[in-house]
Subunit: 512 residues, 2 copies
Amino acid sequence: MTTASQTLPKHYTDLCDFKREIGNLGSVAALVGWDQETYMPHGGARARAEQSSLLAKLIHERASSTKLGDLLAQCEADSSLNDPTSEHGANLREMRRDYDKATKLPSDLVANLAKAQSEAQDVWKVARTNNDFKSFVPALTKVMDLTKEKASCLKTDEHNELYDALLGEYEPGAKATEIEAVFTPLRDRLSAFIAELRDNGTPPKVDFLHREIPVEKQHAFGQAVTAAFGFDYKKGRLDTTTHPFCSGFGPGDTRMTTRYSPTNFPDAIGSTMHECGHGLYEQGIPKETGLFGTPLTEAISLGIHESQSRMWENMVGRSKAFWTWALPLANKHFDGAFDDIDVETFTKAMNTATPSFIRVESDESTYNLHVMLRFELERAMLRNELAIQDLPEAWNAKFKDFLGLDVPDDATGCLQDVHWSFGLVGYFPTYSLGNLNAAQMWETINEQIPDLDDQIARGEFGALLNWTREHIHQHGRRYTASEIIERSTGKPLSADPLMRHLESRVRPAYGL
Amino acid sequence: MTTASQTLPKHYTDLCDFKREIGNLGSVAALVGWDQETYMPHGGARARAEQSSLLAKLIHERASSTKLGDLLAQCEADSSLNDPTSEHGANLREMRRDYDKATKLPSDLVANLAKAQSEAQDVWKVARTNNDFKSFVPALTKVMDLTKEKASCLKTDEHNELYDALLGEYEPGAKATEIEAVFTPLRDRLSAFIAELRDNGTPPKVDFLHREIPVEKQHAFGQAVTAAFGFDYKKGRLDTTTHPFCSGFGPGDTRMTTRYSPTNFPDAIGSTMHECGHGLYEQGIPKETGLFGTPLTEAISLGIHESQSRMWENMVGRSKAFWTWALPLANKHFDGAFDDIDVETFTKAMNTATPSFIRVESDESTYNLHVMLRFELERAMLRNELAIQDLPEAWNAKFKDFLGLDVPDDATGCLQDVHWSFGLVGYFPTYSLGNLNAAQMWETINEQIPDLDDQIARGEFGALLNWTREHIHQHGRRYTASEIIERSTGKPLSADPLMRHLESRVRPAYGL
């Protein structure tokens, strides 16, 4: 990627400069958000909310300004810029997508939605605590109605379903029907797989994973592992928060966070490797060499972002090859805490598949069933095929169907996630898209780097990282998620690689 | 202080709301600057510079906007708001001062000065390294010429000297002649005092102060001391940076930083208590209960801010009463590192007065001579009574005169500070004003709280803090610095209290 050369017309360079200003404001907003979760004293919360909302306002004003619209229109009318395969062509296409999104929503709707979301979140917290879904129905109904209105505003001709407009916020260009076509076979095969494990498998021993490891030693180990993965600590950090996340602050600054429990080492190292995958993607996007603030220096979609986190967390981080290298390293950091555990036993313990009620605590296999259940239900709600008050019944029925468990109460069921109260519809699928994308890339990578396992077992991750840099990271938003999958793996997204991956890991762990 | 009630006219509440937006942007800019010094990875520096300059631009645009000017003019024309002793009257007076300052400088001059400063800083760095003042002359001349131009623009009728216009940036309302009237007797008495100590005194033993103390134990001790002082850690933090500072991030969030060396415990605890003084002032200003962003929720001046830091660092932090409480506490934190040192001996070691060349490394007494030397020289340069190329000679002569030492080279002499390369003229005096203000308040406080020493020796700092809250902090910028000194101590600023303070502490340390 090159920077805007002087041969490009002034309206294009002006456009990029303006986008850079928006990008810089975005970086500041990201820092403000990061600080809120990491170091901000409790007393700063109220002022911080004002600061964040002011920054959001400044960003939205610019992103929806007539100045931006006019520059964009000038560029689109300029025949010297309209080659869709060029960098500026791709930039203009994506800038148009962003601009339309920013300008399509009436400000009344935005304000009403913000208010309804804020109210619904408060109601949801109490409803979950009291296990009282009924009290949540009016607030959720209001949010859902406004969310449907939002979807109607965002809808474009290329999509035939309201759901796609919401999905497109997180997964630009994706269609619910396409996702359904991959999710449905995955759902059926996963359900059958889980049932088979339950009926015929022997769960591996996992108790040793909960041996007590001091938090600061876990932190040092996590830093050592992620540095070996290739995360550049001169251009980033790892801090501690209640909920792990990763945030790109613009060129040269990527911040990851994780969490630690003395008796839950797998959770910490899993979260750290997960966020590191996001961090490696952020560091691999050409923000420093490209035109920062323009789409080619931004991530494609949540589903692609999540593919990078899942790849390092799961494909790498639960493999026998990885623990061949990492277990001795862990023993060195942890004063031999796992000296009596061999790599085989350790790896099996990292690959359980046991149905449970809470999505965020579930394992690599069952996780996807939690997601697909939500996808089906929120799509039904959006299509008016499921009334809000019937949600618990539908949830519990599907849960029994997919995971074989009877949901004991709504707090453990359809009240567990904050997302819907916040109007986040179309967001859940991106989690499983991440797993699907990662598994499909993983098969291709292993074909193209036949000795990858040997490399990983030696603690060498460079070839793997380079593959992702070349096939995914460097392109920014030049291609859509589907295009990047087809370009990098040679085929459209399918459920097969993920199923093959899960079976190859979990079957041996259960002695099958 | 009350919030804007509904009886106030709309143009006033609009004005306050607009100031609040500027205040929030200032809080964000402060956070961005804090992060740069504390946690930002090195790789983020270039992008951070862009972010900071964008925020500065957004703030300046608003602070100098016709919108602000119009609202201000409307309020000033409103007879219901023109009582100068009311809160809104004081707010309007100070807002006018800020607005005039923000609008008086032609943008060409601002740009030229910024460029000249940036260049001069680079030249200065090399010149200092090479001990080559001559190479710095052209760049410094340029900055000084532009700084004079700036002073001409900022000059108001109430002041008779160009220097006052620059001073007013940091010490609103102060006059060079008034400062001179306090500085000159202080200078002469301090010089004589230093000479007397040198000729007749016996320097106290200080070697034990440099015993090795692990950094994390120093940090825990510093937190314990500042929490006892009354710093509210629910509304603030203490972090580590190369150069200690304190930054108020708006309501409920005040961040202090300090630095640690294993073998320089006095430097660390001194810096920590110093920044805590700033922090207590920031926490005491009614940002949460007042109209944040308006002058009554801001600090008066650097000289008053510095009085708060110096009071806790020096008046409290070098007193025998303080170490009566703090030495046992230190021994508890430091595994008895000073168990063999009695409070008397320890306190004496904290009260040395030895001439040295570098201002930032000098002690409580000699420090003021470093400042006054700079005040006289920069004032002479501004009056065209001293040519830039003659600065080294003038510096060295004054240094011999004030401190009795022969400056060995310019790197150790007139090249040591960054300030002038940055056009910071009129800034140095505020350091000594801080000491003078603190000493004068300290005498009054001790009169009004006769058992203060006993309280401090028990680790009780509440009455002292309350005095500063009531007499200084709560007023924000309602009064000028001179007014607050007169109101709180009953007399105009004088050199006597500082001399009495220093003599009472240092004489016994030198056996005089």
